[in-house]
Each structure stands twice: as C-alpha cells, then as structure tokens.
Amino acid sequence: MVRYIIKRILLLIPILLGVSAIIFALKTVTPGDPARQILGNQATEEQVAEKREELGLNDPVIVQYVKYIVGVCHGDFGESYRTGEPVLSEIVPRLGTSAKITLGAVAIGAILGVLLGIISALKKYTWVDSLVLVISMFFQSVPEFVVALVLIMIFAVSLHILPASGIDSAKGYIMPMLTVGLASIASYTRITRSSMLEVLGEDYIRTARAKGQTEGNITYHHALRNTMIPVAQSIGTSLGNSLGGGMVLETVFSVPGVGKYIVDAITARNYPSVLGGALMIAIILVVINLLVDISFVLIDPRLKTTIISGGSKKTKKAKAA
C-alpha cells in the first residue's frame, strides 16, 4: 500500500511539469508585449526595454520556464501584472471561497442525488423512476450558467429573496451552491440507483427477507451501506468537477473565487495570474484524484488486489503479449 502511494505521488511530478509547460507555452505564443501592457501606452521604449529585462522576458523561453518552476517549488508563483502582488497570496484567500462553494455544492448534490436514487431504485421501472431520471438528467445537461440565470431571475429579480451576485452575506452562497449541486444530482442518482439495484439482488438481502426483516429495515440497514461504496467514490470526482467548472459559475454570480480570478486574468492578459491559478487548480485536482484512489482501497478492501497488484499484473501481461 505504502509503495503504491509513493509510486502515485512520484507520478504526479511529470504530470504537473507537463501542465505547467502547456500553460507556459500558451503564455509565450500569445501576441503582445507584457512589459508594454504593464506600463501602458505612455511609456517610452527605454522604459519598456528596462521592464522586459526586469521581468526576464529577454531570456530564452526554456530559461524563463526553468526559473518559473524553481520559483514555484519555493512557493513563488510570480507577481500579478495588474496589482504587483504575489500571485500566491492573491489566490489563497480565493481558494477558501471556492472551496466553500464546492463543498456546499457537493453536499447538496450528494444528499439530493442519493435520496432520488434510492427512490428510483425502490420504484424501478415505474413512472416515478423515469420522472426522477429525466429531471436529474435535465439539470446535468443544461449548462450551469443557464440554471444560474434562471435561479437569479426567480429568486433575485422576481422574489427579491436572495442577492443576485456577490457573497457579502451568507445568503449569497445559496444560489451558487444550489446551481452546482443540481448539476451533479444526475450522476449520484444514477450511481445510487444502479448500485442499489445490484445490492438488492444479492443473496444476503434474500436471507434478510427470509428472516422476516421489514422492507424498510432491509433498505436502510442492509442495502444502503453497500450501496454507498460507489457513491462515496464519485464524491471525489464531483469535487474536482465543481472546482474546475467554477470559472463560469463564479463569473455569473461574481463570487471572488479562484475561477473568477482566472477568468479576469485571461481577459486582462495577466499571465502570471492565469498560470498560477491554473497550476494551483491542476495541483488540487491531481491531489484529489490521488486521495480518491487511495480512499477506494480504504472503503472497500476487496479492491486492494485489483488496484494495487492486479492492475500491474494486467499491464505486464499486456506487455508480454
């Protein structure tokens, strides 16, 4: 197990290097001179040249990249062109805001999704089942920003219950959380439904029925626990999805999170901020994925063989063939 974890952590290094290289490449091919952009049109050529030297833009791209990576390893993500502040100190407080929304959204999505999934599994192949699936699919297929706009039109413009944007009060969090949460319901409903149906077909459920357990007892004490294994695993995926999809949502609700920070930086061509924000999100995503994979094994020890040893055996076999 420990060896597996170490191997996975080592595998993160090339991925993160690759991610930073891709974004760094995008930055270097962008037309326009960052130095000119910082100083504005009034600056003289000498001032611009001086600034270029100061920013290290005259170095070869490889040197710039290596310098950046060395900086990142020391916790230095560069300085924002716009404010001159270190990118890291701008991102960290925003991460907290994004994390709050993400966690709230996952909670809403998971609770509603699991409930609906149980209902549709118990009422399988009836109209209730189809209705639940169609509704949850609706929220999954419609873009989040459209759902967000509809919620704003209902709760902020017509009813005046919730603020249309910003998170000055706790109320401001409700709509962003709800929007992301609704979008993730469908995957939970589906997973819960299929997993529940599978578990309900197992022998130990039949035994429980034969012993004369009530149907409610069977559902909640015997079936639900095993149903939760794949559900718990999908929470990790949806954490990552909502964090990555935060850019559009945070812009719609003007929530000062990492997503909005990156969008603002993209439109202002503020590349150190884009690079820092994107790298930060990539780091969080790969770490979440790693934790999810490890938690797979902790929740369901049966997977130990398939993930750790079985997986590698299979690849060996494939290589031999």
Binding site: G18, I22, G244, V248, V263, V274, A278, A282
Partner: protein, 302 residues
C-alpha cells in the same frame, strides 16, 4: 409415424408460414428497434430533428435579419411583430434565436468533427498499436486531462482571440484527452475479437485493418460519443460566449444573446428568457437522444 393433418394444425402451420417472412436483423437495426421503444429518446430525436430543420430554413422562418438594428423599436416586449421582443439595439430576438440554432449546431458539428479527427484519431492509434505508442500517447493525454476542459479552452481562446475558427480549435484541443480515451476504449473492445487475429493472419494492412475491420465494429459506441460531444460543445460554446471568452459580438449565438440581455435583466427579463430556453431545450434534447442511443447500441452500459 405419418404426419397428422387436423384443421387446427393446418391453421397453426399457416400462421407459422406467415411469420417466416425474412426478418432484417443487423446490429444497427436491432439498436433502432431498442431506440424506438424508448419514449424519452424519441422525444429527444424529434426535437433535434426540428432544430436541424430550423437551422436549415432559418432565413425562411426568421421574420427579420438577425443583425439589423432598429432604433425605433428598442427593448420592446414580446408582441405579434416581435415574437420574443427586441433587444437594446432594436434587433428582433426571435430572429436571432432562430439564426442561433444555425450557428450553434454548425459550430458544434465542426467542433465534434475536429475533436474526432484529433483526439479520436490519437485514441484509435493508441488503441490499435498498443505498447509504447499507447503509453506515450496516453501519458501525454493524462497531462492534458489535469487541466479542466473549460479552463483549457478559455486559455486557448485568450491566445488566439475571439471568433469561430478559434473557438473550434480551442474546444478541439480541450476535448483531446476525453476523445482519445473514449475512442481508445472503443477500439480496444474490438481488438480482442478473433476475426481481427485472422485478418492479421491473412495479411491485411494496418490502415485497412483500422478503417475496414475495426471502425465499423466500433461505430455504435463512436456514434454515442459523437452525439454526446455535440451537446458538450454547445454547452461549452454558450458558457464561454456568455462570459465573453469565445465568439465575437454580432454572431447570434445563444450565449452571446444572453450576455447582451444581462444588463437589462430587471427591466426586460424576456431578453434572457428566450435564448436561455433555446439552450436548455437543445442541450436537453441532445442528451436525451444520446442517452437513448447509448442504451440502444450498448444495453450493457446502462
């Protein structure tokens, strides 16, 4: 023992003879039969067909030009002259929404085709050759996948600028890892079959093998991804245009129309209502259809 011929038996025989009509049974026909039984999928299909018709006949349906500005009729409520009302420049929102179908569907189609020819092809190559080629391609895709799709697309648009070809390129790049993964899996499922081995044994060339023997058998799964990705690209396109990183202003794309209406949300909510409705209907219909296709082509995936 001699065969008995009672009237009742003759009746049964006649019935059987009637039934023995040759039944067409190809995998795609079976899939269509399953698809037909799925009411939600059929609704999706009908709506998608209607949208395609609207897109084709947009100039005939739309009463006004989508970009003509009429300053005598700005921000008007929906009426018989302007079904969906007019926007802040006096443009007819109904006409813009109708043309929006044309733009959204065509751009989505281009994005999907581009994605299949880049990521999809990489996946097919990785799946077919396996070994080192597979490892190298998929490790690179792992790196791309660590960047969220929409963030990748927005960064590329930031580099290339707003516009239709730029947007297509951005969505193509961003979707590469997912496309590669899906198509690789589709090819791998075919690869294990015995007939592939026998084709190899009689010396079928590699290109011919992929095009003639593998893709036709993986086509069901690929259709599912194709329709699914149409929906994804419409979603991404409208989301990106809405926050101003995607298409440029006069294009009647639904996300852009929504963006125009944003400032007038309180005084003229219909400016956002109708384009939002169009996006919802389109995305939902494509997803319903895609879901039905998945169940029809591959009942095991359900």
């Amino acid at each position: 023992m001699a065969k008995m011929h009672t009237p009742a038996m003759e009746k049964i025989e006649r019935k059987n003879a009637k039934r023995k009509k040759p039944v067409k049974s190809t995998p795609s026909y079976e899939a269509w039969k399953r698809f037909k039984r799925n009411p939600t999928a059929l609704v999706g299909l009908v709506v998608v067909c209607l949208l395609i018709l609207v897109a084709i006949f947009a100039p005939l349906i739309a009463p006004y030009d989508y970009q003509v500005q009429d300053f005598t009729a700005m921000i008007q409520k929906p009426s018989s002259a302007h079904l969906f009302g007019t926007d802040h420049l006096g443009r007819d929102i109904f006409s813009r929404c109708i043309y929006g179908a044309r733009y959204s569907l065509i751009i989505a189609l281009f994005c999907t085709i581009a994605a299949f020819f880049s990521g999809g092809l990489l996946g097919i190559i990785a799946g077919y050759f396996g070994g080192k080629v597979d490892t190298i391609i998929m490790r690179i895709m792992d790196i791309f996948q660590a960047i969220p799709m929409i963030m990748m697309a927005m960064c590329i648009v930031a580099v290339l600028g707003n516009g239709i070809p730029q947007l297509v390129a951005a969505i193509m790049f961003a979707s590469m890892p997912t496309m590669a993964r899906n198509n690789r899996a589709a090819i791998l499922r075919v690869r294990g079959n015995d007939y592939i081995e026998s084709s190899e044994a009689i010396g079928v060339g590699q290109v011919q093998m992929i095009i003639k023997h593998m893709i036709p058998n993986a086509v069901g799964v690929m259709i599912i991804y194709f329709v699914g990705f149409l929906a994804v690209s419409i979603m991404m396109m409208s989301s990106m245009s809405y926050i101003g990183v995607g298409l440029a202003a006069p294009t009647p794309e639904w996300g852009l129309i929504l963006n125009d209406g944003k400032a007038y949300m309180t005084q003229a909510p219909y400016m956002m209502m109708f384009p939002a409705l169009m996006i919802m209907i389109t995305c939902f219909a494509f997803n319903l259809m895609g879901d039905g296709l998945r169940d029809a082509f591959d009942p095991r995936l359900k």
